[in-house]
């Protein structure tokens, strides 16, 4: 008889695990992989937590545009910043993502806008959920930008050398409110029409050229189909474009002015 002693058989999960490890190794060794994840990336093979690699994580990635390799210890204290500026930025990203989704289902015409939102609620998978996130995220962003401004003021963080970044911040606050306000009209329901009517009536009080400003913004004497198109373009293209430019200046100046302000 043949030798009955056999090698211990590998179970299927073990085999699968070995196969997966081999595949991952092969992938991580490939030129394709190493060209994407530069030295220091946590996705590279054999990443170890060393001061050198911690520096490389930032230096060798796109994050270097936002963050330096090292910051002062107090700058990472959540109790100091309350993360409000960061939260405002995350909300902006969240609003961009949900907003792009909404754009697929929305036409900015007086005849179609409202029914598009209506069918978004009932016909589109996750349509209502994404619209909810867009709306509540927008309110949250107004709030967090406002609170960020209050936090910066109470810390005296607008003082030299950060004076100009405060000015940029005030512009960003206004842009945020304008973005929210232009978005308010787009559902084209009773709430948006009359809220925007009340809001734009205030613009008419601007001295000297108030009526002209109002006319340009509304595309006529009163809110109508022209207004909807104008505010749609403002909301999805022009204001985000301007906001991103000022955001870039804002973040860049934080670093150029020596990081965030010091402790009290």
């Amino acid at each position: 008889m043949a030798n009955m002693i056999e090698k211990p058989k590998q179970s299927l999960p073990e085999k699968l695990q070995q196969g997966a490890t081999a595949a991952a190794d092969w992938m991580q060794d490939s030129q394709f992989w190493t060209s994407i994840f530069r030295p220091g990336s946590i996705f590279r093979k054999g990443y170890t937590d060393s001061p050198r690699n911690r520096s490389y994580v930032i230096m060798n990635s796109v994050l270097y545009h936002l963050h330096p390799v090292k910051v002062k210890r107090h700058a990472v204290k959540v109790s100091y910043t309350l993360c409000l500026g960061g939260l405002s930025f995350f909300l902006f990203i969240l609003l961009t993502i949900t907003g792009i989704f909404l754009m697929f289902f929305y036409r900015p015409t007086a005849a179609a806008a409202w029914s598009d939102i209506e069918s978004l609620h009932t016909q589109v998978s996750f349509g209502l959920l994404v619209r909810n996130m867009h709306r509540w995220g927008a309110h949250l962003m107004c709030l967090s930008v406002f609170l960020h401004m209050a936090r910066v003021f109470y810390h005296g963080a607008y003082k030299a050398p950060r004076e100009f970044n405060w000015v940029v911040g005030v512009i960003l606050l206004k842009l945020t409110l304008l973005l929210s306000f232009t978005g308010y009209l787009l559902p084209w329901d009773q709430l948006s029409l009359w809220a925007v009517t009340v809001g734009t009536n205030m613009m008419g009080f601007t001295p000297v050229f108030g009526d002209q400003v109002r006319f340009v913004l509304l595309g006529g004497k009163q809110i109508g189909a022209e207004t909807l198109l104008r505010w749609y373009v403002l909301h999805v293209l022009m204001l985000p474009f301007v906001l991103v430019i000022f955001l870039a200046i804002h973040f860049w100046r934080v670093r150029k002015d020596g990081g965030i302000s010091g402790p009290l």
Binding site: V71, R73, V78, F153, I223
Partner: protein, 239 residues
């Protein structure tokens, strides 16, 4: 350099005198502690005093006149200068307490991003964004309200002429806010030095907060004052 309290100086002098076997008089100990904390080794000082050289201290560089001959024990080496590090190289007094952005900043940022996304998602699962009837120019809702962040302005319009409430007050506020760093010349950021600025800003923020709350919850039909617990929020408050 921070000033060292008198009693600590005295104590350190006593301790030094004790360490030297009590032989050195306290006056000498005081002299050697003149230079900011970095003492010249005692043996060298004594040697230089024996040689009659001036035991200079206090400046960055202490020079001693060269002796005419070899030392008493036949030494041919002598102390020429004591050069303190600060005088010839730029020593950072405080190297700065820095931490790596990864993971000390990125990890909390990522957590915050996850948290705000989860919060918005869960909130959106339970509460729907409003969608009223199709816009109708002929049916003015009562009350008609601006979005909440403009309700402070709308509230002002009930009190003042539009020229004041809609233009002058918000205009002045925005200009003052934008130019705050150039108006507030106080360099300190310690709260105790900024009582006036903090007062003004708190009054300003509360001014808008109170107006927005009144406009949102306490204005009913015809934008007349009402209590939300009397009329309910239905129809008077939308987000």
């Amino acid at each position: 350099m921070t000033e060292i309290p008198e009693h600590l100086l005295k104590r350190s002098q006593e301790a030094k005198a004790k360490a030297d076997g009590g032989s050195a008089p306290p006056a000498e100990a005081a002299a050697s502690s003149d230079d900011d904390g970095e003492t010249i080794p005692r043996s060298l000082l004594e040697q230089s005093q024996q040689e009659g050289g001036p035991a200079t201290s206090g400046g960055g560089v202490a020079t001693i006149a060269p002796p005419a001959m070899a030392g008493p024990s036949g030494n041919t080496h002598r102390l020429l200068t004591v050069v303190k590090s600060g005088s010839i190289q730029d020593v950072k007094a405080n190297p700065g307490d820095k931490v790596h952005v990864w993971p000390h900043l990125l990890a909390p940022e990522f957590t915050a991003a996850l948290f705000i996304t989860a919060f918005t998602l869960v909130f959106s699962l339970f509460i729907n964004a409003p969608l009223l009837e199709l816009a109708n120019h002929n049916a003015t809702p009562n009350p008609s309200k601006a979005p909440w962040y403009f309700l402070g302005l709308q509230e002002l319009l009930t009190m003042f002429d539009p020229m004041i409430a809609g233009v002058t007050i918000p205009g002045i506020v925005l200009v003052l806010l934008g130019f705050a760093p150039y108006i507030d010349r106080n360099p300190s950021n310690a709260p105790e030095d900024r009582k006036f600025a903090i007062c003004i800003q708190t009054i300003h923020l509360m001014f808008w907060a109170v107006l927005v709350i009144i406009g949102s919850f306490f204005r009913g039909q015809g934008f007349n004052f009402t209590y939300p617990w009397d009329t309910g929020l239905h129809g008077i408050f939308h987000l």
